[in-house]
């Protein structure tokens, strides 16, 4: 079984990891780097629970091989909060009640973060389109969309 040593930036930290060729990015994050915030749902790109950012855009980490991330920048849900301060998105999710069981939340947050980085003032339609690849089986999306909208407002009022 072939192994490969890759250099990948994860949440701003450079990691040098030796991985077998058939390891997915999701497995590397959870099993090798103990970043278990990213969840394993369907392993087929349907549910979005494993969504992380790769070079600034959302991907399903179950559908990317770890070796493919050599030289890439990855952001997981663990990279959102800084110095014990939550990201505005996380704050807004808490306030809006956008979290119930929490399994979809890391993926929801990363998809939402990608949206807000690209489009700080999204319409509800933009929010729903950005989250179409993330399934939630608890809250029914309304509060999640509320959370993203509120986060956009929080960021806008902070930067005024």
């Amino acid at each position: 079984m072939a192994h490969h040593t890759i250099t990948v930036t994860i949440n701003g930290e450079t990691e040098i990891v030796t991985v077998p060729s058939h390891m997915t990015l999701l497995e590397m994050l959870r099993e090798e780097l103990a970043l278990t915030g990213t969840k394993n749902g369907c392993a087929s790109g349907e549910c979005g629970a494993c969504t992380v950012m790769m070079n600034g855009a959302p991907v399903n980490s179950c559908l990317v091989l770890a070796v493919e991330t050599d030289g890439a920048e990855i952001m997981t849900v663990e990279g959102l909060a800084h110095d014990h301060t939550l990201d505005p998105l996380q704050e807004a999710f808490v306030e809006s009640g956008a979290v119930q069981c929490g399994f979809c939340t890391p993926g929801m947050l990363i998809s939402s973060k990608s949206l807000l980085m690209r489009n700080p003032n999204p319409t509800d339609h933009d929010i729903r389109e950005a989250l179409v690849g993330n399934l939630c089986r608890c809250t029914g999306y309304v509060r999640i969309v509320d959370g993203v909208r509120q986060a956009a407002k929080l960021v806008a009022s902070d930067t005024k």
Binding site: P20, A57, N60, C62, L65, E68
Partner: protein, 292 residues
């Protein structure tokens, strides 16, 4: 829920990739975006012995104008790049309209234009769009290049004219005729799901307002993307009225397609969708052509 072990190669050039393919042929799989391949590997439906990863070949990522007025798209161009390309929006509005229907943002970040073509999923948007546009594909094997028309390239379920040691390098979209317009529509149970039926339509008007040319193709109605020859012949030369379009759409649904039934839709329902969607797409294309 994880892939079986395989040997991994990441060539930096097309030539290196072709050499690997020449050596390993049938045992090797090409990894483009991986958004169809990796799920099948996760479930061990595919267990390739060797994977040739094309993601380190920047020379295959481009969207460029052709002198004739068309667009050349490198096989490793990602959906997301194409979706945000002003050149595609201007010169291939049908592609721009169809792209957001492909899966969801996570998949479009990674999935590639060439991967979709080589994979030849009959439910995929891009093969049907390429067939409608009369695109052609550049293939290479060793030092030999050949061009294949989209309609000839897809020969069956997940099957194309690509040889085991041959690579798809480029999608070339022809220039759009004057007074032509296009439309894409599909029905899926949820946005991003595989469409039950999808339609790409194009109409070119002549000076008298008749259809000088008609293009109509379907996805999810059989084992490959289908060009609706009978419907096209029925509408060509006629003005695109509600009656002529309804007639052509009915012919398409009855004579041009051979849909299968599955748990999501019966044959009759697929034919019904094909007719209704063809009518809508042709009507929209005709309105856009008249307005433009």
């Amino acid at each position: 829920m994880k892939p079986a072990p395989f040997e991994y190669h990441a060539p930096a050039t097309v030539e290196q990739a072709l050499e690997l393919l020449a050596t390993h042929g049938y045992d090797a799989k090409i990894l483009a975006g991986g958004q169809s391949l990796i799920p099948t590997m996760n479930f061990r439906l595919a267990q390739p012995a060797i994977l040739i990863d094309m993601n380190n070949i920047p020379a295959l990522r481009y969207i460029e104008p052709t002198p004739a007025g068309g667009v050349r798209i490198g096989a490793m161009t990602r959906y997301q790049t194409a979706e945000r390309s002003p050149l595609i929006a201007e010169r291939a509005p049908l592609v721009a309209e169809a792209l957001p229907h492909i899966a969801h943002p996570q998949i479009r970040t990674r999935g590639t234009m060439g991967g979709a073509i080589a994979h030849a999923d009959p439910a995929a948007e891009l093969p049907a769009v390429c067939v409608a546009l009369g695109a052609r594909f550049k293939l290479r094997r060793g030092t030999q290049e050949r061009w294949i028309a989209a309609e000839d390239f897809f020969v069956g379920l997940f099957t194309t004219l690509l040889e085991p040691d041959e690579l798809l390098l480029e999608i070339e979209l022809p220039p759009l005729p004057a007074r032509s317009a296009w439309a894409f529509t599909e029905v899926a149970r949820r946005h991003g799901d595989y469409a039950l039926v999808g339609v790409a339509a194009g109409i070119t008007l002549d000076d008298a307002g008749n259809c000088a040319d008609v293009r109509l193709s379907f996805l999810s109605v059989g084992d490959r993307a289908v060009l609706a020859h009978n419907a096209i012949a029925a509408l060509k030369g006629h003005p695109p009225t509600a009656e002529t379009i309804a007639h052509a759409a009915a012919i398409a649904a009855a004579d041009d397609i051979a849909p299968n039934a599955d748990i999501h839709a019966s044959v009759d329902y697929r034919r019904h969708l094909a007719k209704t969607l063809a009518q809508r797409a042709l009507t929209q294309a005709a309105e856009r052509a008249s307005a433009g």
